[in-house]
């Protein structure tokens, strides 16, 4: 029965990875930008909420309300001022640009907040400790369930936005062919900036989840980025939106089951699953409907072709 519990915990952990991976997958899917600062952006969001909570004695969920629009605006400006310019000169430049942004955020956070480890878990009252005991072996923590539920809501909302709304339609069109999108009256740059804003907004929610379930420090970003990146690749590299959540769940289950075998194997088991998926012929759980080949491989070919 401990295995059942491991799988349940792994699935719930996958909800967190899914939230972190969502914005990364969106930016890659729409603009072919691999945002190396994604984890740091999540941590930056966590620090902004931490800053508010130092002066304002409310729940961290309330702190998210003012922080979210600030981060959305930051994402919009990030795209307009930095990433859009870098997109002009090939695929490598945006990667380097986001690497630079990552370093700037990490050092700015250390400068502003010091190197200490922080957490917001203590300010949510009973939420952090509450749990449902399903039976003698399986118990579900309220916070984990909440984060998983948030992941499903985020993916569902994004799916609805992309599939059913006019702005989402334009985003899909600009993702497919930005030049032609311009020719039918779509301001591709504004659409890209909106996509980055959404990605940064979702990363901020991921930052809140991180801050509630564990601790964070100015240099916590890259670890989050690696898990997010692995979730996106396992899920099929932007081939399908839900793939990133599914990839997060696979990663989470691999980690909890690995930890059950040997506590030292937790993170390693996740990396091994990631590598196995990367080299497998299908290259991702949900691969592209068109194009035939593996999602990861097809995406790499697209990168080479451009």
């Amino acid at each position: 029965m401990t295995w059942v519990n491991d799988v349940v915990q792994g699935i719930l952990l996958g909800g967190y990875y899914g939230i972190i991976a969502c914005g990364l997958a969106l930016m890659f899917g729409v603009m072919r930008i691999i945002n190396l600062a994604h984890g740091d952006i999540a941590v930056l969001g966590a620090y902004l909420m931490y800053l508010l909570l130092e002066h304002w004695n409310v729940s961290p969920f309330i702190a998210l309300i003012p922080v979210l629009p600030v981060m959305l605006a930051l994402g919009y400006v990030l795209q307009r001022l930095i990433l859009q310019r870098s997109l002009r000169s090939g695929v490598l430049t945006p990667l380097l640009a986001t690497f630079g942004v990552s370093i700037v955020i990490q050092n700015a956070l250390e400068q502003g907040f010091g190197p200490d480890v922080q957490s917001l878990g203590g300010q949510t009252g009973s939420l952090v400790t509450a749990a449902w005991q399903i039976n003698s072996q399986v118990s579900i923590a309220a916070l984990s369930a909440l984060i998983f539920g948030a992941a499903v809501v985020i993916y569902g909302a994004l799916q609805f936005f992309l599939a059913r709304t006019a702005a989402g339609r334009r985003m899909r069109a600009a993702a497919e062919d930005p030049d032609t999108a311009e020719l039918v009256g779509i301001d591709s740059r504004a659409v890209y900036a909106r996509a980055t804003a959404i990605a940064v907004g979702i990363a901020t929610i991921g930052g809140l989840a991180l801050a509630l379930r564990t601790t964070f420090s100015p240099y916590a970003g890259p670890d989050q980025l690696i898990f997010a990146f692995e979730a996106v690749v396992i899920g099929g590299l932007g081939a399908s939106l839900w793939g990133a959540l599914l990839g997060g769940i696979v990663l989470g289950v691999a980690q909890t089951v690995g930890a059950q075998i040997n506590p030292e194997w937790s993170v390693l088991a996740g990396h091994i699953v990631f590598l196995v998926v990367l080299v497998s012929p299908r290259g991702g759980l949900l691969t592209l409907r068109s194009g035939g080949g593996g999602g990861a491989r097809a995406a790499l070919q697209r990168l080479r072709a451009s």
Partner: protein, 239 residues
């Protein structure tokens, strides 16, 4: 006043001068055919007019307004639409979504999804199909419909019949005739010269980035156009 007025326009691909100082006026309601061999600069000129290619020099005015530096998506709102070579539909969007994405940046006017289905009846039954699954003729009709959704006053069409089956060519020309009948101003590029000339008021022939011949479609002979098309006159092959 001319709807479109182009003066000494130069367009470059790097060091290559694809369009070498052309000037052109198009009157409202006029249908103009642009003919020329591959590499003559027709596509580059159309993309330059649509705003997808920044000019090196020269000016473009549309309805009296200088639009030389205006980005493509804003020219759409002014009323210029391009049906690009190779259709360039959004392959993963449905036919209807391909039409609807063009609505936001559109100029005010009468075209909406239902008007497009009425003008291009073959599209109605296909509205839920993904564009990637359409035949060439169906794709071209969708591309024309998508351009109409922006309520253009000037419709630029690049290679209308290229790659289409003969029966599909009849269909897209029939569709185009319907649109022209409504008074649309059209600048048409097509390899199929006789069909293009048949619906045009005026023909301009382009060779190596320059206009070498222009005249009323009804007055130009096939021989004149063939000479201009291949540049035979320049080289003294035809005396």
């Amino acid at each position: 006043m001319s709807l479109l007025s182009v003066d000494s326009l130069v367009l470059r691909h790097g060091l290559l001068e694809a369009v070498r100082g052309v000037s052109l006026q198009i009157e409202p309601g006029e249908v103009l055919s642009l003919v020329g061999a591959n590499g003559a600069g027709k596509t580059t000129l159309l993309r330059g007019l649509a705003g997808a290619h920044r000019p090196a020099s020269g000016t473009i005015s549309f309805d009296g307004q200088d639009i030389t530096r205006m980005p493509a998506h804003r020219r759409v709102r002014q009323g210029i639409a391009l049906v690009p070579e190779g259709r360039r539909l959004f392959a993963n969007l449905t036919v209807e979504e391909n039409l609807l994405v063009a609505r936001r940046g559109a100029a005010p006017g009468r075209w909406d999804v239902e008007a497009v289905y009425a003008a291009l009846p073959m599209l109605g039954p296909l509205r839920r199909r993904r564009a990637a699954t359409l035949s060439g003729g169906e794709q071209q009709a969708t591309a024309i419909g998508r351009a109409l959704m922006t309520n253009p006053r000037l419709l630029l069409i690049d290679e209308l019949s290229l790659g289409l089956a003969p029966v599909a060519i009849d269909d897209v020309y029939a569709s185009l005739r319907g649109v022209i009948g409504d008074g649309m101003t059209v600048l048409l590029v097509d390899q199929d010269f006789s069909r293009a000339a048949a619906i045009s008021d005026r023909v301009v022939c382009m060779l190596e980035g320059r206009f070498v011949l222009a005249g009323k479609a009804a007055e130009l002979t096939r021989e004149q156009i063939t000479e201009a098309y291949f540049g035979l006159h320049d080289r003294g092959v035809v005396a």
